[in-house]
Symmetry: D2
Subunit: 381 residues, 4 copies
């Protein structure tokens, strides 16, 4: 555990290496957080859920930090409004790295002296997965910051966005029947993956390869964004209110279409996998194509038949609790349960997801108009 803890803490720092100091500070929209906030918030999580609970006489590094770095835990007191995260130039980045070191060291010692303390280990495990989630958020947020800067800075020339796609687009069939869904057995999972239970599925087919840029461009060129019958009513309002005409990181220039990636602004490759579309766009595209999105249950049962992990794959399923779902007591109960309304489940993982973070029962979730996560589309029928 201590190894995994230290590796995770170090990797967060590694992700920051390509950045300039100014990049740590900004928050261009409410749903993006500054890099320095991610660095501090993941640290606060360990401090407040582990150190202040299990470490005798532990004193807060700075009494103001819980107010500054709590994200959404009502049970943990007041906090800076989310929109204000990018309005704080202090504490400085250097100071936040000091805070990280302080907490990493204190926690290492605590783990060292309590190697078999199960409750402690279990919450540290949550903290590690929490930090991995924020590693992905950090990359999503940096991509947003750079992709919305007119200078289009490069994060890292060699960053692998896993954009290539096998050409074959086969349809796999799954027979109707009773199937087991959700996490069971050993290994970490979030509470929202439990409890495991049976579902009955109608027969369905699901496609091998994710939708490509080329397929989506056909949709655009066929007037997909202009045909109201393809869209949900809220989607239609959204594309007009926000003037949405293509995926988040696409751009039309005189020379043709471009796509911004963590490698910079590049000509759009039609064979690459589509990225950064909302559920609204995914559903309209599927409708136009004559297919539909899979449910999260169909996805979970079919997933062994195809490669996944390159894009977060929108499902038709709303994010609601599994049968007999119980949320944890206290503040940790706020981790997942309170978001189970008005969101859609995404399955799989993306090129921005940290290793060993996702799994076949993992339920990611976003509001249907969100698209700064690296989301893509898999078709079903």
């Amino acid at each position: 555990m201590i190894q995994e803890f230290l590796k995770t803490r170090t990797f967060t720092g590694d992700l920051c290496k390509p950045l300039q100091l100014e990049d740590f500070v900004i928050q261009p929209v409410e749903f993006v957080s500054p890099t320095k906030w991610h660095l501090a918030h993941t640290t606060w999580f360990f401090e407040v859920f582990v150190l202040t609970k299990f470490s005798k006489d532990y004193k807060l590094y700075n009494a103001d930090y819980p107010y500054l770095f709590n994200s959404y835990y009502e049970a943990k007191g007041d906090r800076v409004m989310r929109t204000d995260r990018g309005n704080l130039s202090r504490p400085s980045v250097e100071e936040i790295f000091n805070y990280r070191s302080h907490v990493t060291n204190a926690l290492s010692k605590l783990l060292d002296s309590n190697p078999n303390h199960n409750e402690l280990l279990s919450i540290v495990d949550i903290g590690i997965h929490h930090e991995k989630q924020h590693q992905e958020l950090l990359l999503m947020d940096i991509k947003y910051c750079f992709g919305h800067n007119p200078l289009f800075p490069v994060y890292e020339e060699s960053f692998d966005e896993q954009s290539s796609q096998e050409k074959n687009q086969n349809w796999h069939s799954v027979k109707e029947g009773l199937y087991k869904i959700g996490h069971f057995g050993k290994g970490f999972c979030y509470d929202n993956e439990t409890e495991a239970h049976q579902v009955f599925l109608q027969e369905f087919k699901i496609r091998d390869g994710l939708v490509t840029n080329g397929e989506f461009l056909e949709f655009i060129e066929d007037g997909g964004y202009k045909d109201p019958l393809l869209w949900h009513a809220e989607a239609w309002d959204w594309i007009h209110a926000e003037n949405i005409n293509y995926p988040m990181y696409w751009q039309k220039k005189e020379k043709g279409w471009f796509e911004f990636t963590l490698n910079g602004l590049k000509p759009l490759n039609l064979d690459h996998i589509l990225s950064h579309v909302s559920y609204f766009e995914a559903a309209a595209f599927a409708q136009w194509k004559g297919y539909r999105l899979p449910t999260e249950f169909e996805w979970e049962i079919a997933q062994e038949k195809f490669d996944w992990g390159k894009r977060w794959e929108w499902t038709e399923s709303a994010y609601t609790p599994y049968p007999n779902y119980k949320k944890a007591a206290g503040a940790l109960g706020e981790y997942n349960g309170k978001f189970m309304v008005n969101q859609k489940v995404l399955r799989g993982g993306s090129a921005l997801t940290s290793s060993h973070h996702t799994r076949k029962t993992y339920r990611n979730f976003f509001h249907p108009h969100m698209r700064w996560q690296q989301s893509g589309v898999r078709l079903a029928k």
Copy 2:
């Protein structure tokens, strides 16, 4: 069919009898429509989906009316913005009743001369159910208008809101197993109730009686609206942004609690059935009570064990399509399918629902914060 058609048209007029002319005009919030708009819009529906299609040489009663009285059918062209419905004093109420007579007569004649035209009859059937839906909306909207007027006008002293509740609150058990869901056999249904299909349900219990005002008052007095751990995150934001502290038509005065009904403002009866709460409040209440809301499938399977039809009952289920759902071609395809995101299913019916309108497979749907429909709470565990 012609009998049912005429009865429905007449009943809409009957609902207006207690009103003064001024009451037909106003639209105090976006989601409420003026009575005169309901009268005209239901008429437009028959005119545009039936008469212009099946009645040779039929001419629009007024070429401006499609623009004025289309609600949300993109395929039927531009329309007055929803927020502007209450900004139009003309056409007058008298003129709209003339419009109704004109269309009712034309349609009667058409039905008379085509008694076996199945496509015609099937669309008229939709039009009849559509008008019944608007009859309920008309009452919901009048209740809103009167319940938000400082003079609290009475709609009808004798209107039966079906508020009394059997005292016994038994729990009924349903065994786990495969069950058939959705509409099959004869009789009218909306497309969203199809296709019928099997679901597997875990064992569950569901309560006999709906939640009462008394039970909900306990929740309030126990600080239910003040404990963030009971609420969804969006719900918590909503109750603060909108300053929500009790059900929509409750009022706290010096002399105690009152409830506004179509019979006027009355002292709150604790034995009466709770009305006009949002899904957010329903879910928080269930959480506080240690139970949960049923899913729409649980409700549909269990419904024969209890009385229903007094309140629209919130379910935990999101409004998504059934397997193999197909929406109709053209504008009628906009009736249901395009709303299948970000809404919750309600089952049952209410005291404001027209007779022969609802059924056990009927799927009503509203956004989780909505509460001007007469909604209530049934508990499951």
Copy 3:
């Protein structure tokens, strides 16, 4: 006084004669009030400022009405939010006419028995002028309601909007010097016209005739709404946010330009006087023409040289207090003084202004983007 009082009360009723009942109810935008609100509010003014003060044992007609019909007098207690005026179908129009009769009668009696009570007479005089202001507002508001209804109802075919304009456009010169400004001598005036005082004016020229539709159309056709250098910064934001491209009641159809008036929708007459432009548009037009707007002092000194009273004429002057301005004690002090910021002064009067209401020292005022008043443009240099 009693004659003038009764005449004014009657005239308000006369203005309503062309209306249908539905027209009394609506409030399409915040700054417009329903006709029935004007009828009641002017009555409330007499009730609360005169009857409850001077009439022994007078009882409020209805204890809820002060809450419903107070406009903006903080010293007179809470009131319905301005945006809600059109959300109240009750009290009915008939009931409000009863309220009017009741108060008119009570006040007539009071005046009868106190023919020489100066304080009483002085406040009744304010009430009469207040009602005349609301007569103009009533017409402005009806024009707005009808001019924004797709059916473009006619108020009265014969209503005289005083649109014809003398052809001659002479420039009158005024020499520099000290001039006396503001109201003195006998006769009614508002507090904002006092105290009379001297101002020094530079020499200036002012134009005889008001700007015509034809002149303004040239501005439009020359790209006037597209040249940022002609506009104030806030104006430029406003025309883009609100998509402003022509005066409020103009419309471009296939057959050419039309203008809505109280006589209905008519082809635009280029020789008619321009109406319903904002200060922002007036100033941009003047800039484009190479001239400027007069100050209110220039206007007041020059006014004897030209005809006025056909349009409210925008001036360059901000609405600020005259030297030694004292506002009245109590609620009546709220009549004018509290609006003396962020508004521009208009001088003259309009075709919608009641007779004997305006005068050469009268200071009307609106925010610079407002244009539902019948405003026009006079040029100076």
Copy 4:
């Protein structure tokens, strides 16, 4: 001129010395700009108004910068939306200092070789005063950033906010008469200070000392923020919408009142000069005290009788053009004229104003609700 130019450029850099790199980046509210934006925008001003015009073959340092660093000059093309200034982490601070050096050097050379080019010198002079204005804005903005950070960082312990006030509060009289207003003679002035002209003033009295914190605290403790009769209608709406209860940088803690200054958070000194109030608060305070604010003309005539320059002093005067005001042709005409609506004139100067920047005819202007400038109150009667 070259000396003054270099001194000004250097002083801007000096103001940044107390800052950490993170402080250059943030924009907590729309009206605040990031320090790095000020550094670049003042440079862009010289580049685009001087170098590209007068320096043969001058090439833009970076073709993207005009888009990034134009503030509001429509005639100079599109630009980043004002709200986005703080959303750009690149170009980096270091890169912007390089840009500054490049332009400073190029301009020095240009001045060197054109010592008598009057048009050139005159625009450079505007550029120097422009940069001085931004020096004050830079301090205002840093004060806002630090004063709204929960850690309340110190800008500089020794920064002199000129808060001490002579105790004597004498009233000086000025006789009625004709006075000359506006800039004449030699020396730099903005176009809004011309042309010089005569005004007639009534006799008035003006107070020697500015209003103190102690006086304003009396206003608060007397319920000043709670009495609607003291406030303009828009002010009353504003204090409620924004929850305004005291000057911008005041704070009430358990231990009493504190004031944030560039020296950090300090206990409120009642003898110090009041700072950072809006016109709305200034006018309400004057009303409560039984006095009024001076007009800008009264101020200009009376200013030789008192010390000024410690606070921007709100006047009752709206910001409108002087008689025969002509704005410059082209983009420089946008400097002042287009803001002459809805703003109030402030006279004097503040502790944050750069030396040799203000003068007795200087007309500063802000919207009446603004208070992040170091504004104070002088009383008249």
